[in-house]
Symmetry: C2
Subunit: 413 residues, 2 copies
């Protein structure tokens, strides 16, 4: 099997194939390109081979778009804990609820997965620098992996972003380019950057490779469940790319014969920015963009989701569902996941848990099904969202009598 033929690019719309170079849009029909593994069925990749490898996302090397393993840029992302959620499960009436705790990646969000693959591919393609447009998790993940690779990185942000949000990316030595304008304008300039220079903008001209990193979230869950796919997964949706990538992961594992059961794939969005969930509920075939996203789940505030129509199709084809949840429901979910399971997530990552409650109430999910919610980012990314919503400190003097008074109230004997 020649290394070059292991993977190709293929247009999602017209199926035209391309050599895997620096191309991301079909020249024929302008459809998006995605990575395809033509020899997948002939790959000799067994469960025991995978099990013998190091516990990070690169254990699935043959299923990732890198030709030479020496180009791998890894900070150890992947193979995060699949957490059996006993207490949250009891509250919701579910016997087999799992949380994929993807907050323990190196920069504390799932974005380390696509960033690791994208920066590796940039190195492999001989590019001189990497970049992205981002206001948060992607900036940190891209900058960290670029630092490890020794490549300069450029992060395009809209004006007026709080300094705390970019401290992490700055720490890794990224050059922050603050664009006087909106996020869309920052995004536009990042795309020009990709066109004008020999650089890889991870979510623009490296996008086909980049999204492959996210599908390892499907592989790992199957492996962690004893080589069995979950009955149902719930995924936060921004552009919709994560949901499609995870579904692609399940499909590839089935094609390889590593699992044999199917998975219903559901998506969750915040009400203040729910173009995909709204289209699902209306029965529309295409997503209508949201003009002004307004939600505490900042990491999901993409009004015009690039992969929205594909996500919609995936949800329907797999028999999944989509829900839009309110800010109070999201905060409640953050508190539930933290106080019942000990996992502190950012609002965007709690959206699937809030949606899960709805799905259970609506009878979409049965109590015996194996359900996985993907928790995609740490609560430390946005601690301010919670401060006003939790019980404030109890203030006392340093005295044993005052301590006793509190403990009496708290029921500690």
């Amino acid at each position: 099997m020649s290394a070059l033929r292991r993977f190709i690019l293929k247009c999602r719309e017209c199926g035209r194939e391309y050599e895997p170079r620096l191309v991301y849009v079909c020249e024929e029909c302008f459809g998006p390109l995605e990575v395809h593994y033509p020899e997948l069925g002939r790959l000799n990749l067994s469960r025991s081979v995978i099990e013998s490898r190091r516990k990070d996302l690169w254990r699935y090397l043959e299923l990732l778009p890198i030709e030479d393993p020496r180009n791998i840029v890894s900070l150890g992302a992947g193979y995060t804990t699949l957490h059996k959620a006993e207490r949250l499960g009891r509250k919701l009436g579910l016997r087999n609820l799992y949380l994929k705790e993807d907050i323990t990646n190196p920069t504390h969000s799932f974005k380390d997965r696509p960033a690791s693959v994208a920066v590796s591919r940039c190195l492999e393609l001989g590019l001189k620098a990497v970049g992205c447009a981002s206001t948060g998790n992607l900036a940190a993940a891209t900058a960290a992996h670029a630092a490890k690779a020794g490549l300069p990185s450029f992060v395009f942000i809209p004006e007026g972003l709080e300094k705390e949000k970019i401290a992490q990316a700055l720490s890794y030595g990224a050059t922050i380019v603050e664009v006087k304008g909106t996020y869309d304008q920052a995004n536009w300039l990042a795309a020009r950057f990709a066109e004008e220079y020999e650089v890889g903008v991870v979510n623009v001209n490296i996008r086909p490779y980049y999204v492959e990193g996210s599908k390892t979230l499907a592989y790992e869950v199957c492996e962690q469940l004893g080589w069995k796919a979950p009955d149902h997964v719930i995924i936060p949706m921004a552009s919709g790319a994560l949901l499609n990538a995870i579904n692609k992961g399940f499909n590839e594992f089935r094609e390889l014969g590593l699992i044999d059961n199917g998975t219903r794939v559901s998506g969750a969005q915040p009400q203040g920015c729910s173009p995909i969930a709204t289209a699902y509920q209306r029965g529309d075939e295409y997503v209508t963009p949201v003009e002004r996203p307004e939600t505490i789940a900042k990491s999901l505030a993409i009004g015009d989701p690039g992969d929205g129509n594909y996500a919609l199709r995936t949800i329907r084809r797999t028999g999944g569902a989509a829900a839009a949840v309110s800010d109070p429901e999201i905060i409640e979910a953050v508190k539930d996941v933290a106080s019942l399971e000990g996992i502190f997530v950012e609002p965007g990552a709690a959206v699937p848990v809030a949606a899960l409650k709805r799905f259970v109430e609506d009878g979409i999910i049965d109590k015996d099904e194996t359900v996985v919610c993907y928790l995609t980012g740490s609560g430390l990314k946005a601690p301010e969202t919670l401060i006003e919503k939790v019980r404030p400190p109890i203030v006392i003097r340093p005295s044993v009598e005052e301590l006793r008074k509190i403990m009496e109230v708290m029921g500690v004997a």
Copy 2:
């Protein structure tokens, strides 16, 4: 081998032995008690048995002070990446430099290790609640594990702490008791809490069990280096307990025959609070407390280190060294670790890297030695320390011409 005799408590000063109950100070001589495994030599714990187990700190179950595995409270802490630091190593002239990236634990600091063991032991001892005095990492780790166990948790903090610092602990549902007074007074009240109620205060009456969690940082590094101890380790020192625990881990692995080489154990402190390093440099046998700690490495600001004298002895016995580094050196180290290796740590966690530079300059460490620096907490815990110290964003209009001007300056062609 009876479960109860697997481990006992033993006074570090007079050697008196105790059944492993809720006792932490020797009744004879008031010395601190520590966990001792009398049958260690007869334990049939092989490399392959350990290798076959799940990748978290509980893979070393026989070496941890829990009688019944059903009491284990785990969020998946442990078995974090041992990161080969090629670029930082080159800068410092070291060929075998490793960073133990302990920021990817569930609450993003090494404190998840002792907290996991302590809360498990609290459950095992039938205690009704857990607590700690802390201004940061320990509060989050304790509250998270208590949440997972379904035990109420109480965190004692001094007055005037910024809300951001306690948001994480609050999220897990901890009751925050703000004590009108200093950190010492909060600590004092936490100790009273341990005395007055049937509760476990992790770093007071559960302390002997608690510190055992930290020694897994030694075990893992040996395993990750192919069952070989590093030549030299550098550890941040606050109370000194972490350094002693890691040294205990190396000793136990040697006693078990799992490794056979020795390790020099060095400690690092910030200049604004360096009682142990100062005593080392002066040749003193005992540590003199620091009245007013003042450093950006807040997590190391313990003026009167409980385990300081023991840490001093460990450093000297193993042929290690101790250094006190300045705030500018610490910030430089944060930037180096982030920009060369893609790992963003809090100032306290960068202190060993700053000390490492000194050790190399002073000829204490040779270029071929295998060196491990312990990175104990994520930079997201204290992003504000870095914001004013890194290169600010470059501000431009959304225009290709302005983009070109920047890229020319940056040398991107």
